[in-house]
Symmetry: C2
Subunit: 232 residues, 2 copies
Amino acid sequence: MKRSPNITDLLPKLDGLMQLLTEPQRSNMCGVASVHAFRKNELIYPAGSHPTMLHCLVSGKVKICREGVGLRTQIVRVIRPVDYFGYRPAFAGEDYVSSAIAFEASVIVGFPIDMIKSLVRENASLACFFIQRLASDLGQADERTVNLTQKHIRGRLADSLLFLKDSYGLEEDGYTLSIYLSREDLASLSNMTTSNAIRTLSAFATEKLVAVDGRKIKLLDEAKLAKISRMG
Amino acid sequence: MKRSPNITDLLPKLDGLMQLLTEPQRSNMCGVASVHAFRKNELIYPAGSHPTMLHCLVSGKVKICREGVGLRTQIVRVIRPVDYFGYRPAFAGEDYVSSAIAFEASVIVGFPIDMIKSLVRENASLACFFIQRLASDLGQADERTVNLTQKHIRGRLADSLLFLKDSYGLEEDGYTLSIYLSREDLASLSNMTTSNAIRTLSAFATEKLVAVDGRKIKLLDEAKLAKISRMG
DNA sequence: CTATTTTTGTGCCAAATAACATAAAATGCT
DNA sequence: AGCATTTTATGTTATTTGGCACAAAAATAG
């Protein structure tokens, strides 16, 4: 993690939040914001640590991982630019229960969480900003629970592929997922063993639902994937 | 669902929220609040409907159910007095994705959600009230996902029993869960079939971890249940 | 109080999935 | 380039869990 020099060039990206502040609040925030660059697979914060920052992903891709029984980790959320993350435990009065790890090289702006918390206490618009995000995330989390617990392997993998498309989009060709995941990551997103992720992805390829080239995955038949996802 | 006459006797219960309002806001709220009594198993709101109320459970017990693949329903949250519920989708700009059903006879105070939303926009303390709850619920939801997906049947059932104790407490004897669930509800809380809930609960009884008398469940060895839950 | 429905309990079998073993391929490192 | 490590691939087996059938018990309705 290296400190990147200047925040002023990143300001436009932070507009969504900055616009909600008064002018003095805004300049205050800029003064204390820090910019960090993370390399691929670098740990942004570990589970168990105390939250000190509100993070804003300016560029790159990040995964939020929770580890369950016997070191088996699960990807519970993925972050794309320009998403804010790492604030939930602070608002709930907890320490981090999940870790944040960069999928790929990423730039993150950090704001001291205590300052954010006091701003929220006096700025209802800012508070609404977080309410809206927490409310959506909670809905997604519940849906994810049902998906992971009730669907069979094929349904879960199809679901993950479509989820990745929604989250990170496709490349210019209109087919290739913009994120290149290891089979292991795909497995922890879909709650299955790596073997089964590999096997099932191969099966999808055989059925011409996807085309696989290393970590590059083309979605050839989204409609059918959606159907598989729906049927479990 | 019948309309109960007066809200004034319930006011002390609503203090947690009312204290955050200014005097005019408070009297305004009281004017538009409505009180409803629900019988056992009565539907409070159905999935798919549009949220119109912030609900506050004053007495009784409520389950929030989401139905997944093939009508299989899952209990995603349980509500105890004095909890607020039913507001998440309104803040996320969605319709209800889950239903609320009374476990047992319950009294609920309803506030028009649009009024709550506009209050939240101008009252940062009230906003923080919801932020705090959403943040905790989101943490619980993530933990639940890991529990349900990574633990084996025994672990999940043990988990549910301890969760029910945390949520609704024990009776005066210090052992009996204060909530009497059908085996089917126990199953949808633990994400397993009813047969397996019955089987596994019997196994726990044989092992003297619990004592079962109809729907009455005594927790005889919480430490061991916690261990089973941890190990998966 | 009896008939009907729902809930609970148990056994057996089949399906889904994890675990393990091993090899090939790809990647990173010096 | 060559070696070590990680990732991907595939087959085999064992475990876990769901599905189904049916009986007993309990709750509910008439």
